[in-house]
């Protein structure tokens, strides 16, 4: 079955939103720990980060949010953040405290594969990543590889990136770890298209937008639609 990962920005409503996303069929959740200068993010996540910071979602509050979310859901929870947060909090300390709060792994958007190798995390690879680097990332990654499906920042796009197929093919050539595609995936069609190639998908900006504008029920409906689209994808080959 194809995996569905939903990204939510940490905030007061996150535990409830997380429960809604899981009820809709999310297999794992990424919880954004906001950073003032998120280079990998497009406008939707950047704005969500600004709102979260304005609500006081600093590192400690995010860790508390994580623990409260953990109390509501059983799926893997993965904080996603930027190196500056870890620099300030301490890499090891962050890892330990996140784990204590219920984190399953970690994603750091601006920490390249080579940096901080002792920090166990989900590695990202992009269409520009050469195959040798994909291989290194797969070797170091924590459970699955995050495929950045396009050259660009996070945010909804009209179509699934044409770059994704090539990236999946190159990744399959060097590793057996599961591949989840993210960036630019927002509609059921996108979800099905991307999941036909990869082992699962990550949806961020659109989920964040719906959660913010319409709340948990709307989020659950949205995730259900994505889940349905994914479940229709015929699994052609064993992973």
């Amino acid at each position: 079955m194809k995996k569905l990962s939903i990204y939510l920005m940490a905030g007061p409503d996150t535990p409830e939103l997380a429960a809604a996303a899981v009820a809709g069929g999310a297999d794992l959740l990424e919880i954004g720990f906001p950073f003032s200068d998120p280079l990998a993010d497009g406008p939707v996540i950047r704005l969500a980060g600004e709102r979260a910071l304005a609500q006081g979602m600093r590192t400690r509050a995010c860790l508390e949010c994580l623990a409260e979310t953990r109390a509501r859901v059983e799926v893997p929870l993965i904080p996603m953040t930027y190196a500056s947060i870890l620099e300030a909090y301490g890499y090891e300390r962050f890892q330990a405290d996140a784990q204590k709060a219920g984190a399953t792994s970690l994603i750091v958007a601006d920490l390249p594969i080579e940096a901080a190798p002792e920090l166990r995390r989900v590695q990202l690879v992009a269409p520009t990543t050469p195959s040798e680097r994909i291989s290194l990332a797969a070797h170091r990654t924590d459970g699955w590889l995050y495929l950045v499906s396009l050259t660009g920042t996070t945010g909804a796009r009209g179509e699934v990136s044409e770059q994704l197929a090539g990236l999946v093919e190159r990744a399959r050539g060097v590793t057996d770890v599961p591949l989840l595609a993210g960036f630019g995936i927002s509609t059921p069609d996108h979800a099905a298209g991307a999941a036909a190639l990869a082992d699962g998908i990550v949806v961020g900006s659109r989920a964040v937008e719906i959660a913010h504008e319409s709340g948990p029920d709307a989020l659950q409906d949205y995730v259900t639609v994505l889940r349905t689209a994914l479940d229709r994808v015929v699994v052609s080959l064993p992973g």
């Binding site: 003032s36 950047r46 594969i113 520009t128 950045v148």
Partner: protein, 386 residues
């Protein structure tokens, strides 16, 4: 490259080879950019010592930029002190930024990149980028905070005349910090066709090294000129520090001269070195204005070019090793020096180097060299509006 490995474990691993100055520098970027940085590093290493590149760069410096720039001994400014000015304000486009832009245009051409993105604060780097793009026939997109567009209007108009597209950045501080973030996001999106022409010695490796190398012509010339004029080296070399490119270029000429004091002057409200902490911004680990959670704080300066919460990693390293000292000047002190230079020497400086002048005027040294990094035409509205 300075410093083979960072002393602190966090950024460790093979990243140690990626351009660390002590604990500072490195590469903290989304994966999409890593191959582009590798390509840039390789391209730069290929051409930096290529005689053809050197010759073309020197010819452009001589015939287009206007190098060597004069070393001017002030007549009435210093009182008991002898103050020399390295006149980067006399460069084409009115600031030292063109030294870097010309060099990076040659690098972009070598890499086959036809589109340039750049960030700008005061507009000086944006104008320099737009200028070299016109000269080399490259498409040019400049990101600029909307607040800076307001206070540096003449430079926006210049960029338009030169054929560049200026994109206003309307969120966050609406200054250099956000403009830099947006330029990097554009680069992430268009990385295959685009060279990011960064304007200061900041950003991920190899940028700090690349920009320093292209700006070091300032220090090389100044050292020779000082020796010719005074038969000795200055006691102190003073330059303003925002990102720190004119300072690192000037300091580069005197780093090995242990008796020469190197003094960087930050804006009091943007003192990344004086009151910052280690953190990560725009692709590098450096000393930053940030809170205890690692969130970047706002900088405040009358001078758009110094209004930046980060600084080049080599400056953080020079601070820690004690080779350079860093001080601050307030908006008022900079304005005072701005007027003084205009009235006593007939030179209108940019507000950025006015900070350096302000500290040079009360420095306990007799023979001082100040980097006059740019001219002040762009700042008239700001100064006269007060």
């Amino acid at each position: 490259m300075r410093g083979a490995s960072p002393p602190h474990p966090p950024p460790g691993g093979e990243a140690a080879a990626n351009g660390f100055y002590g604990a500072y520098g490195g590469r903290y970027v989304p994966e999409t950019l890593v191959p582009a940085l590798d390509e840039l590093e390789e391209g730069w290493n290929d051409i930096r010592d290529d005689p053809g590149f050197r010759l073309e760069l020197e010819q452009l410096q001589a015939t287009y930029v206007g190098r060597p720039t004069p070393l001017y001994r002030t007549e009435r400014l210093g009182g008991d002190r002898t103050i020399y000015l390295k006149r980067e304000d006399l460069c084409h486009t009115g600031a030292h930024k063109i030294n870097n832009a010309v060099g990076q245009a040659l690098v972009a051409r070598r890499l086959g990149k036809k589109r340039i993105v750049a960030e700008t604060g005061a507009g000086q780097h944006g104008v320099a980028s737009a200028t070299v793009c016109a000269r080399f026939g490259l498409e040019c997109v400049v990101y600029m905070g909307s607040e800076d567009m307001e206070r540096q209007k003449p430079n926006v108009e210049r960029m338009h005349l030169l054929g560049a597209e200026v994109r206003a950045v309307e969120f966050g501080t609406r200054t250099l910090k956000e403009a830099t973030s947006e330029a990097i996001r554009d680069w992430i999106t268009n990385v295959e066709t685009t060279h990011y022409m960064i304007g200061s010695c900041v950003g991920p490796h190899p940028y700090p090294e690349l920009v320093r190398e292209l700006q070091s012509v300032i220090g090389r010339e100044a050292r020779e000129q000082m020796l010719a004029a005074e038969s000795r080296l200055p006691e102190a070399v003073v330059a303003c520090v925002g990102g720190g490119s004119n300072a690192i270029g000037l300091f580069a000429g005197f780093l090995e001269d242990a008796d020469v004091r190197l003094v960087g002057v930050e804006a009091a409200g943007a003192a990344s070195l004086g009151s910052g902490r280690a953190g990560v911004l725009h692709g590098a680990r450096s000393s930053l204005l940030a809170d205890e959670d690692g969130q970047i704080a706002d900088a405040h300066s009358i001078s758009a070019g110094l209004d930046y919460p980060g600084v080049g990693p080599e400056h953080a390293f020079l601070r820690d090793t004690g080779r350079a000292e860093y001080r601050a000047a307030t908006d008022e002190e900079a304005l005072g020096a701005f007027h003084l230079l205009a009235e006593r020497e007939g030179i209108i400086p940019a507000l950025e180097p006015a900070h350096a002048l302000a500290r040079a005027l009360d420095l306990d040294a007799e023979l001082i060299l100040v980097g006059l990094s740019g001219r002040g035409d762009k700042d008239l509205a700001t100064v006269l509006g007060r």
